[in-house]
Symmetry: C2
Subunit: 596 residues, 2 copies
């Protein structure tokens, strides 16, 4: 039930796959030296493993409680949150102009993986705050930035996202909360649901970002504006002043992430909560899209993180649980179950997909940095396009895998996996929210097919396919049958992804519905193919290092074995989504509503 940050794997993915050296060399990241980065990873690993991980089980068991309007977080949470603020952990990737450390997102994402693996229920307060900071940073006025950003970046205050209403989930156009102008501010009223950390005892103030409609606004998404609605109105000194007219009226009873208070928030019961317009009226939803890339990447990383946590626990169990003889040896004495073929298959499938996710997640994070800091605007735009394309894949593929891998973790535990004390089941329960929030995975697939592929006819994806083929060329001379097998997989992936992309781009033109019917299988194919490509790159690097005896041979050999397993076992069923993604539209619309 412990967690140890997989520093060697992380460093490998940061350096050899995501190109940390190049990122750290970008203008503005001069302070991200190798020593600094190593120190950050090391210290974060300690805090995650020794501080956060031990609070995870109690956080689940006891959870957050609402009593008389006050939310009390789980035991130990206020203390560890204080350590976060004091250690400056909250400020890692943010703008130095407002107290941030201005470190690369690539590093921040690796550190995020640790927080989320150690304690997802806790980690959510950090993610929501990140989103709120992004929104204010991009769209707030100078005065708003001055008032809120320092406090939020330090973590003294936290931010929330108030989007969903009972009738407005994926379809935010249906939202009804109202904001009426009243002098220099607005009076906001309405009910919001599923508000993560909408109320808690970790920080002295909570800055709610609320989507609401102004009285004469048009129907639909163009009538939605974004407001800052603080729990306590900042006074003249910037300190929390008057209590605002908003409250948490109940907490949801959820399948998982019990430590994270999911609030029903009521605004304006006593006449209206004071809210400050962000940017212009009617542009609320477009402002939300600004922060979506970071937020969706972070949720994808949660999928990776919970998978890593589940893997560590399952591997530890498999090494210690003794049951049945070894099939490979005559000795009848029972051995630890890590010796059994199917347990090994399960562990290999977990680690192979975790490494593929980590590679693709860090690669995408590096793209965010590249797009931000590359001085050549056109080159930066191209990188941004690639990030935009990858984001829905990272969000949906990682979170689906997070669930599958957490479930495999339960399975490896046998009967003990079903017992809550073991802790394996918690990971599965916690993971189950990931394919739902921050845009369901169906919405991600829709974004991928209906927006990202459509907007350039698949060009950005086909550029990735070309890079896959270039890697396959590079591997042509590589020695050994592992790399030969892996190279075959890369070529098959490139072919399938090219075919699928061209089909989707064409189908979306003639009739979006057909393309959408195949969007989830397409996303699965794309994620698995891209993950495999980056694992192949890892394998090639590992082989090169082995040849010159640079690094731990056991670690490097495991990279080769893992990439080969991925190629031969994980890849084929995913590439076989090519037929289904094209065919689904034929039958998906054939039944009438009442036939379901």
């Amino acid at each position: 039930m412990t967690y140890t940050a997989p520093l060697a794997d992380m460093r490998f993915a940061l350096r050899e796959v995501a190109g940390l050296d190049k990122i750290a060399a970008l203008p503005g990241y001069e302070h991200a030296t190798e020593d600094t980065i190593d120190a950050v990873l090391e210290e974060a690993g300690k805090l995650a493993g020794n501080g956060l991980a031990p609070l995870n089980r109690e956080g689940d068991k006891i959870g957050a409680k609402l009593e008389n309007g006050v939310v009390r977080t789980a035991p130990g949470f206020t203390g560890i949150y204080r350590e976060f603020v004091d250690g400056g952990w909250n400020s890692l990737p943010f703008d130095p102009a407002f107290g941030g450390q201005g470190m690369p997102w690539l590093l921040a994402v690796a550190v995020q993986e640790m927080w989320q693996a150690a304690n997802m229920g806790f980690g959510l307060v950090l993610l929501l705050n990140q989103g709120a900071i992004d929104a204010i940073h991009h769209h707030g006025s100078d005065a708003q930035k001055k008032t809120y950003l320092h406090k939020m970046i330090s973590g003294e205050w936290t931010g929330t996202m108030n989007l969903t209403e009972p009738q407005a989930g994926s379809d935010l156009g249906q939202l009804k909360s109202r904001a009426v102008k009243d002098g220099d501010h607005y009076l906001v009223s309405g009910q919001k649901i599923f508000i993560t950390y909408g109320e808690h005892d970790l920080a002295e103030n909570i800055v709610h970002l609320v989507l609401a409609r102004t009285p004469d606004a048009p129907a639909g998404v163009r009538g939605i504006s974004l407001f800052i609605v603080p729990k306590f109105l900042p006074d003249a000194d910037g300190k929390p002043g008057k209590r605002n007219d908003l409250r948490c009226v109940s907490l949801e009873h959820k399948l998982g992430i019990h430590a994270s208070p999911t609030c029903v928030m009521s605004f304006g019961d006593d006449g209206g909560a004071v809210g400050y317009l962000v940017g212009e009226e009617g542009r609320g939803l477009s402002y939300m899209f600004t922060m979506m890339n970071n937020a969706r990447l972070s949720v994808g990383v949660q999928g990776l993180a919970i998978a890593e946590r589940a893997y560590q626990q399952a591997a530890a169990f498999a090494r210690s649980r003794v049951q049945s003889k070894d099939d490979n040896r005559p000795d009848p004495a029972p051995v630890s179950i890590v010796h059994h073929a199917d347990v090994r298959r399960m562990l290999m499938s977990m680690r192979a997909q975790i490494e593929a996710m980590r590679a693709l997640g860090y690669y995408t994070a590096a793209g965010i940095d590249g797009a931000l800091k590359t001085e050549d605007k056109a080159a930066g735009r191209k990188i941004q396009d690639r990030v935009d394309l990858l984001i829905p894949i990272v969000k949906a593929w990682f979170t689906d895998l997070g669930n599958e891998i957490a479930s495999t973790g339960v399975q490896i535990h046998g009967g003990m996996g079903f017992i809550e004390e073991t802790g394996a089941a918690q990971h599965l329960r916690d993971a189950r929210i990931l394919p739902i929030y921050e845009g369901t995975n169906g919405i991600q697939a829709r974004d991928l097919v209906g927006r990202k592929i459509t907007k350039d006819g698949g060009e950005t994806m086909l550029a990735l396919v070309a890079e896959m083929r270039a890697l396959a060329d590079e591997m042509r001379q590589a020695p050994g049958d592992d790399l030969a097998a892996i190279r075959t997989g890369v070529m098959a992936s490139a072919d399938a992804l090219e075919d699928a992309t061209k089909w989707v781009a064409q189908a979306a033109k003639t009739g979006l519905s057909d393309a959408l019917a195949g969007s989830v299988p397409f996303l699965r194919l794309a994620g698995t193919a891209l993950g495999g490509w980056l694992l192949a790159r890892s394998a090639l690097v590992a082989q090169g290092k082995l040849a010159i005896r640079d690094g731990d041979p056991a670690f490097l050999e495991a990279k080769l074995v893992t990439a080969r397993f991925y190629t031969e076992v994980i890849l084929p069923p995913a590439l076989a989504q090519l037929g289904p993604l094209k065919a689904a539209g034929r039958t998906v619309f054939a039944l009438r509503e009442d036939q379901f």
Copy 2:
């Protein structure tokens, strides 16, 4: 959150796939007339929908409680259990010589699907009792049968299976419980874990079947004997008499099936629990294998059942939840989400796999009847071989799908799916035990590959492949492109299953480990292929009935659409397990224990 027994689908699978008419015509089933069978299905549907289903959510929320050694079941359970006993529901498939109704297992399995879909936490008491009845019926003495079977078949008493100990899970050879001869009985002592309904308030007596070792027994599985250890020793009149020396010392806190008390049982704390040997010493484990087919089929049916329950709930939600416009129409008004492509894809994938499971499950149940009642012994033996082959597939494939489909059910609910009040999450939590108990799915795959395929070199499976090809021939003349597409799928399935079976049979000869590394992918391929074969048969029947206007056209057309969706969307990734099942052994053993 309601459940309606899908009678039309059940009847179709019973008649058109499993050949209910032929089964009912077997000697000994003369009383299973069409009218009787219809009445049983109808009445069972009412009891499941109106009686059991409404207790499911409270059963989860409140669960079973242990207080001072007494287990109190969830609200309403004692009342509904009384209805079961009074209605004779418990006795359906059992021997009329002991008060059973002697109905076909095929019918009993369809009825079982209803109980398990309506309320799995309740349904477990029935399954465990069924297993205990089977064991005593096959291996008990005449006196034991006389004392126990009437009461257990009526349901006045219930049975349990006491196998697992902390160090002996999949590896029962490690068990330590002891039984020492003491006159006409034995004194049993030891601790057993994971004992389903080991203690409860539904019946006046509980008949524990306990595996234990006699003092001089050899180590391993050959030293294990089976004992009847009743909670109350039957007195001279066969009534519950003296309290035996056994108790439930605690209940597990589980992920799901909260209504089912999972007990830690302690035997012999005060000197030894009185136990009666079943059959001969040392044969306990082989006796357990006798009842395993029925028990594993029943657990498979639980997978089917929970999937059906999840589907009904998700479909109802999708028809009522309004969100976003219809992509196929210009009207901007939001529509129910059942109109959206990806929601439909999810619903189709649920129903297609449910229908495939039901077809294969009922087909297997019909085989149990056929093997029991066919007068030609050689023919009966062949049917039994087929049942033996299918059982691990039914158990593992159905229960994996049960989890995947329950998870899809959560996903269709969006954010509401993560909230416990919705009930969708309960199905996922309940389903999660199914791939674990009654032999983990890894153990099933091992049984399939290491025993069932190995014992005849794959001959029984290849006979099924031949039947698949025969169906494809039969379909050659069938009209319409649906059947043409489905036929292509049957042929691809036959090819893949033949190839896989031959590879596995050969690999198991040269080195079992390699075959075992691919055993789970093999089982997945086999289950999906066989399910698709029976769906194709359904589609052919539906087409024939449509042609002669026999039956509801909407129902019959949906069978065609569903089978085609299965063929084009579900089948390809499963058949693509052919490569992985052969390749897994290459990498699965490459890492050292400490590299995980």
